[in-house]
Amino acid sequence: MCSVQETSLDLNVNIKPATKDCIKCKTTKATVLIRHSTYCKKCFQHVFVGKFRKNVEKSRISSNSTKLNGCGEKVMIGFSGGPSSRTMLQLINEYNETHPHETSKKCAYSEIIVCHIDESVLFNYDSTSSTFSQESTILQVEKIVQKYNYPFIGLYLQDIFNPDVTKSGCYSNVLELAVDDAKILQLEEGSVVAPTEKLLHLLNNVSKSTAKEDFIWYLKLCYLIFTARKNGCKRLFLGDCSSRLSIKIISQTSKGRGFSLPLETSGEIDWFEDVIITRPMKDMLSKEIGIYNQLNGLESIYVPSMTSMMHPKASIERLTEDKEFPSTVSTIARTGAKLTPSDSIVKENRCVENNKIWQDRITVMTIPSLHKSEECNGQQSSSNKTTSRYDNCNTINDESTTNVEFMDLLCYACRVNMLYVNVINQRIILPPYVAEGVEEQKNNNRKQMKKQIENYLLCDDEEL
């Protein structure tokens, strides 16, 4: 123990630069140390804003948006109210106001919408009295956004259960998970169960906090994307900073999401086809962001997360949050940035829960295929020891989907998460967009099957 501390002390001595002047202008006394470089206040801000602009510029050029229409595209900012997205909002605003490369008064973006999703239902909702112990974060966020004159959309996470948060915009069925099967259910008219209760019921029955965090994140991401799509935004800005991304890279890898990692963490992805996700903050450390906000008086709101105030080892994500060595972060982030999605990705294979594309081949967990499950109706299937909770496949009728079928539509990591959902004696409801995805996939399968046997079918006409 003692020797470990000694070596880390030595390291500290070595990496501290001897000069106390700004390495950029070399005239002013340095006030900020970023990794191994010292900056004065002015140069720090210059470098910081420069990094941001470089990323934004790159994404605009690659999308050719300026050529298509002179006024740029309509974009949405995912704004949590936390420090990183707070900086992002400010910098996008500055960028859009004074666009450096265009002489005429053109804006980089035709319209900017700010969207915030309130998660307070997860932390301070008292289900006995149906009241919140704290005011919604929407009000605090709205106060900040008002300074910028952008349209603001404040959403509640529980409203992911609304029928309009789907591709078709009016799909009201939900997916119910039970011990023996997963059913697509019609939502009863005047249902007494409020969305808040549904969401809490779902999340409270997830036994591992790592899986729960995952659930919350994908519900949020899907909600943001659906909202962007609904409002005709071509681009969604997310404020993941470099520190956050390196945490993600490590935690996602350990959760079994390595395959989709490049698409989760890269600065620009077209994963969701019509909505491009851009992460302009990907090169900033959380330290830089903290200092920038402090120097510029940018106030952020405190957004509690599930593991706030909890033990540092409460979940995988929380565990990877601790960071002792400043260079590790950028090394991980840059290594992660070199990853590119495999060419063999089949676009049709989408996980219904998070809408991501995934690959069947790379899963280590054996899931009985659809055909197999039909063969062994009512029997215990042999190969699904890991999914023992789901191994009673009941007879398939038109409305119900067996869990095996449902699991087939999930990516590996989501399957693992599903193992932590406690379905015994519980009826867990998944939001409509999942149910819609399941139905869509089933129809696709049916279409494919029909195509295969097309030649052998007798047409109605011929029959006559």
Binding site: Q5, K16, K20, A30, T31, V32, L33, T38, K41, S80, G82, P83, S84, S85, G239, D240, C241, S243, R244, S286, K287, I289, G290, I291, Q294, L295, S300, Y302, V303, S305, S308, M309, P312, E321, D322, K323, E324
Partner: protein, 103 residues
């Protein structure tokens, strides 16, 4: 022994550990450990003993603040000011920012 005035600020979620207090003016001895002048090390311990309301393990690790907590002394990164060895002066403005939830 004389008293020195110091302005402390907590942000980025740090305030939760301090009963939601974002700013506090304090007066401490110029030599908490006589005969040496009061350093950041002394101040951090003083804060833990006198101001911290809960979860000391989220504030400190070893004898310094937890990694991920940013400290600015008069708008200057404390890493350039000698960190724990920095001697507190009268009128110093010290900011603690938690960066652990930068998302």
């Amino acid at each position: 022994m004389s008293l020195i005035k110091v302005k402390l600020s907590f942000s980025g979620g740090m305030e939760l550990l301090f009963n939601n207090i974002k700013q506090k003016h304090i007066e401490i001895s110029s030599t908490i450990n006589p005969p040496n002048a009061t350093t950041m090390k002394d101040l951090i311990l003083w804060i833990r003993e006198n101001l911290l309301k809960e979860r000391p393990e989220l504030f400190m690790s070893g004898d310094t603040v937890r990694p991920g907590i940013l400290v600015l002394i008069n708008e200057t990164d404390w890493e350039l000011e000698g960190e724990l060895e920095y001697e507190i002066k009268d009128g110093d403005d010290i900011v603690f920012i938690s960066t652990l939830h930068g998302g």
